[in-house]
Amino acid sequence: MPLYVERRPERLITGEGVRTDGRLPYEMRPIKMMVGVLERADGSAFVEWGGNRILAAVFGPREVHPKHMTLPDRALIRARYNMAPFSTPERRRPGPDRRSIELSKVIREALKPAIFVENYPGAVIDIFVEVLRSDAGTRVAGINAASLALASAGVAMRGLVAACSIGRVGEFIVVDPNHDEDMWGDSDMPMAMMMESEEITLLQADGTLTEDEFKQALELGRKAIRFVYEVQKEALKRPYQLVERGVGRLS
């Protein structure tokens, strides 16, 4: 008998577009990003997005183990998305399931286009995304964190990869779906882009969208990602900001 039973809210959105957490369709949940939270990793970041708590760490460029995976002309990129056993209401069994394996792959493929892999022949860059608390949109939150961790590790990149999910609830296209919308909404479309070149590096969709809905979702995704990107840039600069004092008088 499960201790936690998920209950579908009576309705996911009102006729005026008010969502179960009180947001309007184009409102994002609060975001916090912090860079350099771990001591041992070459780069790290922590992202709070709604109820999500995501830790990302980057190791490398470093020597490849096992050796036979070495690529002579460029860096090998590996990514692991992992959910902590205590990240969900019901305890998750530790270790990768099929979903995590797929997400590890799409996260790697979302970040790899941004990395100058040819700068690091024979090396590996390992990216770890640890979901400590999950609240819908963990993969996009993870990409945002991992992208920051890569940048803070000093990995040469074409640009930051920013990500956000777009959902559909009935007639409404909504930005940054919450837990209820993720569970019971009609569609979910996670996206990631390199904002400087507007290249899409992650695009998945689940649930149906008409041609118009899809176009609307894509456009909303771009706006949301632009928003997230600005937060990322600020988080990355924050530790290195100019500190100034006037004339100091010591007694």
Partner: protein, 269 residues
Amino acid sequence: MMFDQEILTHNLMKEYIRDLIEKGQRLDGRGLYDYRPIEVLSGTFTKAEGESWLRLGETQVLVGVKADLGEPFPDTPDKGVFVSNVELLPVASPTFEPGPPDEGAIELARIVDRAIRSADAIDLSSLVISPGKLVYMLFLDMYVLDYDGNLEDSLTLASLIALGRTEIPEVELKENGELEVRETKRRLELRDIPINFTFVKIGNRMLLDPTKEEEGVCDASITIAINGEGKVCSIQKKHGTFKMDEILNMMSVARAKWSELAEIVRGAI
């Protein structure tokens, strides 16, 4: 690392393919948006409740749907169970190795599964015998026999055909709780035909139904599922990057192609 096709495609061949594509041509003479010939083999090859052996050019796949009885998942007591799995057999390519499904196989299974589920192609609530207690479980097992690219679309087509052909034994739950399996069979209803369309980008060109050589040289790849109403029902961008207008263009191509492929599925069922 099955899609790291650089091992398979010679550098000279890569350049040649890229040069051709730049001129709008393909190695096998196809147009950019043409599928290779699709053939559904006739005959019985398995003990499955529904099956299909499909060839897409030189790619060959065999899909079997097995049915069983079991308990539903606790969070969906009023739905049958539908499980998808892909096995990349070592016979299909010199680079496939035996072992548990790797990330490529898992992703493939999930791409097919997501298209079918999103389109509600199978009415899972029709698979309930006793809510919360007993349901039909359908296992969609996809076998890759011969790999020449575009497993996404070939497996989806073969799966739809196999599901459309599936006949499961009827059962009756008697009042005393006993279960009677009847001689009669019921046909699984395929309510929609969600088709996966896989495109790769080579240079600035998009092409449909890539061969393994084209997959090997491509700069980006994506699979888009379109259902009978022309709706998008799943997307999976794989490696590389796309621009927004490129995605919208591919979507229009996919929409225009849907009926051609749906006809093949219907014809084979």
